[in-house]
Each structure stands twice: as structure tokens, then as C-alpha cells.
Amino acid sequence: MRIEESKKSFSDYKQQIEGHEEYGAFVTIAQEQDNQSSGKLQGVPYSAKDNICTKGMRTTASSKSLQDFVPYYDAKVIALLRGEGALLMGKNTMDELALGSTGLSGYGKVAVNPRDKNLVPGGSTSGGAVAVALGDVAFAMGTDTGGSVRQPAAYCGVVGVKPTYNVISVEGTIAAVSSMDTIGVLASGVEDSAKVVSILSEGKIADNVNQEGVKGIKIGIPKEYFAYENLAPNVKEQVEVCMEELKAQGAEIVEVSLPHFAHSAAVYSIIGTAEVSSNLGKIDGIRFGYRGDGESWDEIILNSRSEGFGIAAKERVIAGTYFLSEDGYETYLIPAQKMRTLIIEDYKKAFQQVDCLLTPTMPTLAYDKTQKSNDDEGIFTVDANLVGIPAISVPFKDAGVQIMANANDEAKMFQLALAVEKLGGGQ
């Protein structure tokens, strides 16, 4: 569903969403239209990941620990969309507390991939990608901490964009990794995603995508990505076809090097778990969220967290607590923060040579749900979060093509993304 084609009534959209219950894309479906505002998105149906606070509507983050949490405020992005007349159709399923990349770790309902129900939808913004792929909403709001918008976009065949860090306010979202958390948008086309990002950036990002094609654009191909040992041959082949076609249209393809890429997964895991363990400290069962029984203050907190968190949260909180401990801090966390500096420098140097970087979004296509996930599944998406640069996943054949650009250069990213979308037969 495209934004400009959104002409139906709230009840028609609601009926369609209810008819797709088997896909598990929604934790909560809005029961009545509560927005009569007029604006740039008037009457356009959208949904929001369930870690984005919605006034009066349950916000569980697909975690038992927040199963009954009803915010008394809207997240900043929800307020902005409300002001533009967009229709909030409900809240999307996700990996628990945005911690995962399969889309399967949420408490309660779990989304399935509309391409094939046996395949993982990708996460953590799984339900949002599924809702867009099904045409239930024109766009879905997500969060992207290490690829959580781009990964499900690639697996479900939709567009997923993560703008520059902090260009869109994260106020009112349930924090995971504060130095990387970014609001993102899933849509069926590049131009729609750009339009929503522009609105949410409050004017910092232009909403008109340059339609002039790719002639003269310098595209960097990071050699380390394409040499990654677990990159599936079919994904590599499809992205290389995309590169050749861009070259034929006048783009300049340049090989670049990101020498510290081999350390990205470790840096992301160490810093990510440390910040997650800190952020989830607020979930204690006292002021909000699931409350366990207990005779003492400590016992209530212990039982609330132990019964409320699933294993996805527990393993990260434990790992993060270790990396923040006396033993882990000096040995692992500080070196990881230093290596992050070198990774940032690598990208700065690369963007002195080229306008954009082009890579696969994921090393493989969506895989069977019964298969164990690869620990390095997000290897191609985490760098954009470590560095803070904008990145987008665009469907091309069966794969997702990722385009990254320099900080605050969304215009170039969207311009190239539109060209890739057209090559892939998209809108």
C-alpha cells in the first residue's frame, strides 16, 4: 500500500488487519479512530513497533515484563504523526524488548514471514515489516539499534530505513542501547519512507527524492563485506548484479576498505549488552510492569525481573552486567569503545572517497524457522549504528541491498536507493 493510495476508511483497514491475524503482525489492534487532524498524512494508516509509547494503548515491547503497561503519553514520533493526521492502526509484534534479529523471541504473539510462513520474518521490528509486506498499513514505525528495521525489511521484501543517529527524537521509546538506538521507518517504497522520515525529522531531511538517477554518483564497495566467510553465494550474486546495472547507468563503482570491520560484531555485542543491562535496570516491577511476589523489596525486584524477562533479555543483561563489572570493564568494554572510534574513522575515510556504500543487508536470505540463527546475522547492519550514519535496505530480486551514506546525507542515500528500487522492479 502506498501513502498516496491510502483512501479507505479506518474500519476497512481494521477489517483487513483482523483478517490477517494468522500472520501475527499485531500485539494490539486499535479499536477506534482517534485522530481527526489534517496534515500531510491525513487518513494514512500506519502501525508502530510495540516499544514506541502510545498514549492509552498498551505498549508491551513483546515482553511479559511490560504486558500490561499503558503509557500516559505519546512518544515524540507518535505525536508528530498524530499531528499530520496519520491513523494509528495498532502496535506491532517484535523481538522481546528489541533484543534479537529473528523476530521469534517475543512473548505471546510472534510474526510470520508473508513470503513463506516457514521462514523467519527477521527482527526485531518483525511485525512492522510483515504488516507493510501484507499491505495492511502504508508504513510502520520501528527502532533500529543494530539493524532491527533493515533486517526484517530485507527478509520480508520491503524498504527499511534508519536515518542518521539522533535526527529523529527517540523520546518515548523503550531504550535498548542508547548510543545506537534510532527510530526507523518501514514502507513499501523508497519515496514513502523518505516522506515519513522527513516529517519525523521536523524539517532536517528533505522529503523530495532526487529522481536524476545515478550518473556521476560514486558508490563504494567495501571489500571486507564481500569477503565475509558466511556471505551466501546467492545473495552475493544478486548484489553484484545490482552493482553492474548501476554501473551501466553511469554510477562509478569504487572498491573501498574498512580495515576494522572484523571487530564490529564484538564491539557491538560488548557495548550493546552493557547499555542494555543498564537501560533494563528500570524494569523492577515497583513503578510499572509485571510485579512478582515477594516479602521484601529485593525479593519483589528479583522475582519481577526473573519472571518478567525471557531468555533474550536475561542473556544480554547478564553479559552486559559482566562487561560493566570490574573484570569486564577494563578488559573488554574500554577496548570496545576504543575500537568503535577506529571503526568511525574508517567510515569517515571511506566517505572522503565515495558518496555512498553499497552492501548486502543480510549475509543470507530468510531461513527456516527451525534453523539456529547465525550469531553474526547482523554483521552487515551494525556498523551504521556504531558510526551513526544513515542506512536503508531496498529489495532487489530476493535479497535486500543496503545503502549507507555519510552522516546527515540522507538525500544521496535516498537518491541511490530509488535507483536500486527501480532496477529491482519496485515502485
Binding site: V167, S169, K204, L302, K338, L342, I389
Partner: protein, 90 residues
Amino acid sequence: MVEIEKIAQIAFLKLDEDEKAICQKKIENIKKSAEAMLQEDLSAVAPTTKLTTALSYREDMVIPPSKRDDLLSNCKNAENGAFVVPKIVE
């Protein structure tokens, strides 16, 4: 090997044996993935704790403080405008 029970105590988590094994494996896997990083000479590099490369500022805004009833609206046990918790002073 990291002492998982000690870490769990700090994190206010109670883990069963399966969960302890999963957490242990998680930490060991991350430590293993970091081995190459620890071989690098990072002595002259400053750590990045927050991103300034892409910093974007917004206007400071005065917002009204939250109302007490709102703050208590998600609490499982509240009385007389306050959170009810067990006594913490003997």
C-alpha cells in the same frame, strides 16, 4: 569462566540451570569474538562513549511535570497517592 551466579545477583536475576548455561555461553562467545580486537594496540585511541559525528540538536522545551495519578497508573500496588512497597528499614 565468569561466575554467572555472582553476576546474576548483581543484575537482580534468578536463573535456572539451563539459563545459566545459555548466559555462560553468551559471554564466552562474545569474549572469543573479541580476541582479535584485544591484540590490537589501542593505547593511543580515545574511547567513543557517545556519538558526536552525527549530533543533531533540538530546541530546549519546557514541558509540564507528570501528574501523580499518571505516574501511579501503571503501578500494581498504590495507596494514598504513593507506591506501596515492603518495609526496607528494620
